[in-house]
């Protein structure tokens, strides 16, 4: 237990020291938020709902990004550089190492959520009942699990370049076709159809429902759970196969 807390702390420290995290997971979502709620005039029936809706979009966008990218690329990098091999010679078990990464990442996600929520309040005076803030925050935190799974899957890639390239592309595709940048209903029908089955849409939609005073749809939960399962099984399977040298 002591080990996992130490390990977790180290991972958190490393993430906060990473300038890419600050830029991509905090700065960029907030900039987008300003652009699409302050500068670009989007025709919406209710500006207040839009401000809250887009705040959720950007928070999920941020958390999804650091879950897929930071974790996945880190894992590839550490393996490539031999660090993972060194760790295997120490008493630290592989699962603790992995779990600490996941936990550290979750703490960082919590931090991102808080920062971006506060930015929403300061920039647009977004006001939601306290339990809605908590519920949406909790949803985003929990809903990030499938993306951590996707990060673990990225982590099975052999080269850092491939991992970076592919995870960037997947991240952007997921964000756009999941309605995180633009609301789903203004996207082409075809994209909407595919998008509704993507983890990103279901992740975002849960939060969008919560700020409208509803609960996430059962379908959202089921799809996210299914993705989590698929990603975990796949990444575990590939890792096992790679280790059997």
């Amino acid at each position: 237990m002591k080990t996992i807390i130490h390990q977790c702390k180290a991972e958190i420290l490393r993430m906060f020291r990473n300038p890419y995290y600050i830029f991509w997971s905090l700065f960029m979502p907030i900039v987008f938020y300003v652009i699409f709620t302050k500068i670009v005039n989007i025709q919406v029936p209710d500006k207040k709902v839009w401000d809250a809706h887009y705040l959720m979009s950007m928070t999920t966008f941020s958390v999804m990004g650091s879950a897929i990218m930071t974790m996945g690329i880190r894992i590839v990098q550490e393996r490539k550089e031999g660090w993972t091999t060194f760790i295997k010679t120490t008493p630290l078990s592989g699962s603790v190492y992995f779990l600490a990464k996941m936990m550290g990442q979750t703490v960082v996600h919590l931090f991102s959520i808080i920062v971006i929520f506060i930015a929403g309040v300061l920039i647009n005076g977004v006001s939601l009942p306290i339990h809605v803030w908590f519920l949406s925050g909790a949803w985003i935190l929990l809903g990030s699990l499938p993306f951590l799974g996707l990060g673990a899957l990225v982590g099975t890639m052999k080269r850092v370049d491939t991992a970076t390239g592919i995870s960037n592309m997947v991240y952007m595709l997921l964000a756009i076709s999941g309605g995180m940048w633009m609301p789903m209903d203004i996207l082409p029908k075809m994209v909407q159809k595919v998008g509704s089955w993507l983890p990103s849409y279901n992740f975002g939609n849960g939060a969008w429902e919560i700020i409208r005073g509803q609960s996430p749809e059962l379908k959202n939960i089921a799809i996210l759970a299914a993705y989590l399962l698929i990603f975990m099984v796949l990444s575990t399977y590939i890792r096992r196969k790679q280790e059997a040298v």
């Binding site: 080990t3 390990q7 020291r17 060194f86």
Partner: protein, 300 residues
Amino acid sequence: MESVVEITGLTKTFKDKNAVSDVSFSIKRGEVVAILGPNGAGKTTTMLMMLGLLSPSKGDVKLFEKDPKSKSVREKIGVMLQEVSIMDGLKVKEIISLIRQYYPEPYSLNHLIRITGLDQDDLKKRTEKLSGGQKRRVGFALALAGNPDLLFFDEPTVGMDISARKLFWQTVKELADKGKTILFSTHYLQEADDIADRILLFNEGKIIADGKPEEIKKKLSKQSVSFIADHTIPRKMFLELSYVSDMYEKDGRIYIVAEDTDLVLTRIFELKLQVKDIRVEKGRLEEAFEQLTTENREAI
């Protein structure tokens, strides 16, 4: 004395090529053993298998009579591998503290700093900002962090400057004096000769010699007596002697290769041979090493 390392019939095949073939040896507590051999001799592959990082195609590895992957073994070993960079984003002090707490009875941070020659400035640096030499020092500190009984160093001095090397071997000697078992691989003969009390000579994935540096040197290094003779000397005169292994002529000199050159000299004087400019040449380990490894290649 109990054996700490027990290797039997270790074989590793990569795509039909044997990187290591049928290697067996055991190491007793407190021994300092060098795995010596040219590049590509299978030293690293053997070490990775000993550590459970690579599964052998055949054969068995036991450390402290257990599977090298078991946690109780991991708690007793310290490892420094080649080409391992250190996890980034942490300061040297932080990473050492992190690794220390994986172990039940680690060395104190201060002790680690002292024996590895890290200074206060290094400790505050982020690992990604370290030079190659500083990284090796940190790697050394991490290997020692858990106060291990058995140490593995794979080509430890590659990338170290002279002073770092000196300090490294001094620390290794101190650790050996404390009764730690140390196993290191190297392709520098001098290191094996200076530090180890036993050398496992590897070539082409096999152990071709195993013994004390002195024994290996004696066995390998061919010493010779050479002279200029006015008249021809029948080859039989020397070659029939048990301690003479070869006789040849080169650049107008006759060379008699023998295990014991004193006996050859005695013989020359006994026979009252008309020879002049007698020289005794002691083979150096470097030459022996080259000889052995090239001879072996020819044999295959």
